[in-house]
Amino acid sequence: MDNIFLWIAITLGAMVGLVSVVGIVSIYLERKISAFMQDRLGPMEVGFGSLVNAIAGKEVLREGRIGLAQSLADGLKLLQKEDIIPDGADKFLFKLAPMIVFAGTFSTFAALPLAEYFIPADVNIGLFYILAISSFGVSGILMAGWSSNNKWGLLGSLRSTAQMVSYEIPVGVSLVSIVMLTGTLSMKGIVVAQEGWFWNWHLFGAVGHHGLIGFVLLPMMVINFIAYFIGSLAETNRAPFDIPEAESELVAGYHTEYTGMRFAIFFLAEYGAIFVGNAIAVALFLGGWYSGIPAIDQANIPGIAPLVFILKTFVLIFVVMWIRWTLPRLRVDQLMTLCWKYLIPFTLFTFFSVAIYKVFIV
């Protein structure tokens, strides 16, 4: 009895910690990366020392700061902000919406395979669970857009929902190819299937496991990976698919009316979703917690496995940000065109190819 509650408490605590750290680090990275790409410097004033000094009311020194504590300070600022609920809003749903969105993202963290020994909930349908539960967040976005009684918010939430519902198809189909190849839905099982050298990763067609014939799979898997990556960008409302919160069109989309901590929760959920989307890509295509060189994995250095996993995820997150600060935004109909005319045919093609491979060759 006690053990169960303790376990729940520890797991929940670890997950909350992970989500917050991921959010804060991602926001810092986003600001720095965008700044460097635009010939700027980004946040440079708030370091941890100056943050502590500022809270303690001491003099804040400026030397040697690179703004490490900027997003933490922003979080503190948002916490203190006035919580404004529009007069015409539907107050109950308005308050509920950020929680739903956050819950949708937060729950997906439960099945992330950070290491062989560190999966909060190793359910046998892990991948399916993540896909299913992340669709729950959509309703939160709809709720936010409708309840704030703002037309921009409503349009944003409608766009967001249409986009997320559509892109679930290519994402799902591309993942099913992997599931078909490995024969399991368990995240752990999928990662374990990629053990060994990096050419065992699914991105490289798992050549090590399948022999030379595996090279047939390689282009399929690359297409799959790209399709999944584009789809996950769209599912997390990232540029160039950020039309639900396109600031030049819809002001801020579904969270136009949100302020303070509620807004911060939306933000945190968004960055959490980005992390999860890329973590799935790492687990399914890039060998999860395996570094790609057997010697490192077998050395049994404590903590290396989650580190490798998170590092790989952040490399992908860097790419996500790199794309965001390079590309313009698509229009709603072009977004749908990309999904239905390009991604879905390609993923279906790879799906059938992998099926044929599985049935006739292996």
Binding site: I125, F136, S139
Partner: protein, 169 residues
């Protein structure tokens, strides 16, 4: 297992409350959201029955798909600019009568059937088993359902298609 019972009661109560909100709430948007949570709770009930795959499907299809589409429909068709619009039932007595009769019938049925307790252990890897069953015993129903859905899909496209092409994609 006290915890499991407690959790079951929690989930069941959640489903019931949501179902009641669906029926009794004045605002149709609340009903729609309550329906969504109701489906979510049902997925929880599936987990208690060791049917994780079904629970996931319930979430993916009903919560992420159907409920959202219902919400979408409401947002697009109703007078969404007015938050105060209400739906009031005009046939409370008649409707109540029917539902009470139906409830009585259900209670009678539940009590009269001799329920068997399932003895075999839950299947470990349910997706595999489900897949096998789909491809063997239930192949024809599965295929018919697939064709039916395809027909519905094409029909929806035909109905929904804009006849005048003023927007080039």
């Amino acid at each position: 297992m006290v915890i499991a019972d407690f959790a079951f009661i929690l989930v069941a109560a959640f489903v019931l409350i949501c179902a009641c909100v669906v029926v009794f709430h004045n605002k149709i948007i609340y009903s729609a959201f309550a329906l969504l949570f109701c489906f979510f709770g049902v997925a929880g009930l599936y987990v208690f029955l060791n049917a994780e795959f079904l629970a996931g499907t319930q979430l993916l299809v009903y919560v992420g798909g159907i409920s959202v589409l219902i919400l979408f429909g409401i947002l697009l068709t109703k007078n969404i600019e007015d938050l105060t619009s209400k739906e009031v039932s005009t046939q409370k007595i008649f409707g109540g009568l029917i539902s009470v009769t139906f409830l009585g019938g259900l209670i009678y049925m539940v009590n009269s059937v001799d329920w068997k307790v399932s003895t075999p252990k839950p299947i470990e890897n349910s997706p595999v088993e489900i897949g096998k069953l789909f491809m063997s015993d239930f192949l024809i129903p599965f295929e018919i359902a697939g064709v039916l859905l395809l027909v519905a899909l094409i029909g929806a496209v035909v109905i929904g298609r804009d006849t005048d092409k003023d927007l080039e994609v």
